[in-house]
């Protein structure tokens, strides 16, 4: 498809320019002008109120989904314990369901896991769909996908949420393809559009520095995976719900994979989630040796060291110390960002921090926009100086 401007209709409002994720529209002589690097993504077509952005794509009719009801949450469990994110999702599902006037349901798969249903009711599930089978004991992609496929076909949910965990990000896309539904990954915000009644899914996008709100108008269920640690689990006291047991038939042959061994590793026990102070490094640290100064500062605070994706990719820190969209979300008292430019993926993981301190040579670095205090300077000088000052204060 192609996108072009009908200049006669354009009033120069710049709405399309602000929306374009690729910076591919500009104003020329008071009218919108589409640049060569336009990808025809169509974002500008949606926002134009003057019908000045035209496309040769045929208008699509939105199917009638009035029979699709209910907000579903995948209750992820391993060895009989629920993943915290499932309870967080139930919290969000309660408010989404209230806006829609629909019910919250949890989908619990496993072997001998029926005892978890009580917890799911306690966190807001009106219904628990329970599928138990020996073949569901370990999470396996095809087995879980098949059960979801059958449940979705039979009960026709409106919304289906999963945690953006290693399991959720394996299962979500597989189920979405199987049931013919669109899926939005790693959402950080979910809400119901008051006019259309559809799920608005917001996530960082386009390689950083923009948030995108995504709609799933043409298929059901509206599927999203959600980052752990962002939504709030909400207890619902004395909540009683319905336990709906589902029949499952599965064969080893159709599943195609077998878990030979599952091992828990503590891997040096880095606990970023509970650290009070985190000293984090980015590209500006420059080298593995450069990380040393950060460890000294963290030690002075009694805190932990973390890093951006690039630091982990360079091999300067192990992956369990990675903070950001692809790493962990953290919420310390103080987050000290050293030589971190502040791409949105990284910022997404630190916004829960109480105070953010940024140290960067470049006064234009986006990290300063989210910092409570920022020092413009060379971290190789600032960090050791800070270590001295903090050690002195803490020593007193």
């Amino acid at each position: 498809m192609t996108v072009w401007i009908e200049t006669a209709n354009c009033n120069g409002c710049k709405r399309c320019i602000k929306t374009c994720p690729y910076g591919a529209v500009e104003l020329r002589e008071g009218k919108a002008y589409i640049l060569e690097h336009c990808t025809s993504c169509g974002a500008c077509v949606e926002v134009c109120r003057e019908k000045a952005v035209l496309t040769d794509a045929e208008p699509r009719t939105i199917p009638d989904f009035s029979d699709r009801k209910g907000v579903w949450v995948f209750a992820e469990q391993r060895n009989g314990s629920l993943n915290r994110v499932s309870l967080e999702l139930l919290g969000k599902a309660q408010s989404l369901a209230a806006d829609l006037g629909q019910e919250v349901s949890a989908v619990l798969l496993g072997s001998q896991v029926s005892g978890l249903a009580k917890t799911l009711f306690g966190y807001g599930a009106d219904n628990v769909y329970l599928a138990q089978h020996r073949a569901l004991k370990d999470y396996r992609t095809i087995a879980y996908t098949k059960v979801f496929e059958e449940l979705v076909k039979e009960f026709k949910p409106n919304i289906l949420l999963m945690g953006a965990t290693h399991v959720g990000r394996d299962l979500g896309p597989r189920v979405s393809r199987r049931v013919g539904a669109g899926l939005t990954a790693d959402c950080t915000e979910l809400s119901i559009d008051p006019e259309e009644g559809i799920l608005l899914q917001t996530r960082p996008a386009f390689g950083g520095n923009v948030m995108a709100t995504i709609a799933n108008r043409y298929s059901r269920p509206q599927m999203a995976t959600v980052r752990p640690g962002i939504m709030e689990a909400v207890r619902k006291k004395n909540n009683r719900g319905n336990l709906i047991k589902c029949r499952v038939s599965l064969t080893e042959k159709e599943i195609g994979t077998k878990v030979l061994e599952a091992v828990r590793e503590t891997r040096g026990k880095v606990n970023l989630a509970e650290a009070k102070v985190i000293v984090a490094g980015g590209r500006g640290v420059g080298s593995e040796a450069g990380m040393k100064a950060l460890f000294s500062l963290a030690k002075a605070f009694g805190g932990e060291v973390a890093g951006t994706r690039i630091i982990v990719e360079e091999g300067w820190l192990p992956v369990e110390r990675q903070v950001g969209q692809t790493g962990q979300s953290v919420r310390p008292e103080i987050y000290i960002a050293c030589g971190i430019s502040g791409a949105i993926q990284h910022r997404a993981g630190i916004m829960g921090s109480r105070y953010i301190i940024a140290i960067n040579k470049d006064p234009g670095a986006p990290i300063f926009k989210v910092a409570d205090w920022g020092i413009v300077g060379d971290l190789h000088q600032v960090v050791p100086e800070m270590t001295r000052a903090v050690s002195q204060s803490m020593g007193k």
């Binding site: 498809m1 994720p21 910076g23 690097h37 990808t39 025809s40 993504c41 949606e46 926002v47 965990t165 290693h166 394996d170 979500g172 896309p173 979405s176 393809r177 199987r178 013919g180 669109g182 990954a185 996008a205 386009f206 390689g207 950083g208 520095n209 923009v210 948030m211 995108a212 709100t213 043409y218 195609g256 994979t257 077998k258 878990v259 030979l260 061994e261 828990r264 590793e265 590209r283 994706r309 690039i310 982990v312 692809t326 103080i334 791409a343 993926q345 916004m351 006064p363 234009g364 986006p366 910092a371 205090w373 920022g374 020092i375 413009v376 600032v382 100086e385 800070m386 903090v390 204060s393």
Partner: protein, 263 residues
């Protein structure tokens, strides 16, 4: 063993900067690279080819300039490159992309293994691998960081979990999505790179007609999800910026920390 590797060309987002005046994204001068996770998938494929023999086909979808990523993959050791490029493919979400890739893989035909990176750094969705696997009805293992054993009928791999790992046996043909921990990708071979950029390089460009898909099934039109709004994230903090002498800056900062009883 015939291996298909899925590769995406992405902007090097670690280079992204904001215009200090407008707060807009500055796109000029940002390099395009092979997505980092995909590079590890390529390395794994070349490794398997070296020990087991066989052929590597690298498959990518993107604008015409994405042929550079395909050439680079050939220089790393792939034997054949296919770029899916058509204006009709533009604006695709993962639903439409996995369909397009799936159709192309069906056209390629024989394969024992499909390898791809866990996720692309410009989208971070991690959805394409599993969606392609489902379209082709293959077993999948994601977050793979170790390939232990590969036979004709099955393979044993380790997949990373948040707090450990799993050893998984998968029936072949299968699809794996791999993470950086798997290996250290080799540099492209200069001589091969020169060959890969020649006109007679084994690279084909396929359009919608070549893979037998209709315009309405692919790209923006074939997508189920759509971006309806983009916005700059709200800066939630009123930052105080300290500039000047290092000692003085640190003194001011520690003063603030003391004021707030943080130290």
């Amino acid at each position: 063993m015939n291996i298909i590797v899925l590769v995406k060309q992405v902007p090097d987002t670690t280079e992204v900067k904001l215009d200090p005046k407008t707060g807009n994204l500055m796109r000029e001068g940002i390099d395009s690279i092979i997505n980092p996770d995909d590079r590890h998938a390529l390395e794994a494929a070349v490794n398997l080819k070296e020990t087991k023999g066989g052929k590597i086909t690298v498959l990518s979808m993107g604008p015409p300039q994405a042929v550079d990523a395909v050439s680079e993959a050939l220089a790393m050791g792939a034997d054949r490159g296919i770029l899916l490029s058509d204006a009709a493919f533009a604006g695709a979400d993962t639903w439409a992309t996995s369909y397009t890739l799936g159709r192309a893989i069906k056209k390629i035909g024989r394969y024992d293994l499909i390898l791809c990176g866990r996720q692309a750094i410009d989208g971070d969705t991690a959805q394409i691998g599993p969606q392609v696997a489902d379209y082709l009805d293959l077993p999948q293992v994601s977050y793979v960081y170790h390939i232990e054993k590969v036979n004709r009928k099955s393979m044993v791999v380790k997949r990373r979990l948040e707090d450990g790992f799993e050893r998984v046996r998968a029936a072949m043909p299968a699809l794996l999505t791999v993470i950086g921990e798997l290996n250290l990708p080799r540099y492209p071979h200069v001589g091969r790179l020169i060959d890969a950029c020649r006109e007679k390089a084994p690279i084909e460009v396929w359009n919608a007609a070549d893979i037998g898909v209709e315009t309405r099934e692919v790209g923006l039109e074939g997508s189920l999800t759509h971006v309806i709004k983009t916005f700059a994230p709200k800066a939630q903090r009123e930052g105080e910026i300290i500039e000047g002498d290092v000692k003085e800056s640190v003194r001011i900062l520690t003063g603030k920390l003391k004021e707030n009883r943080l130290i």
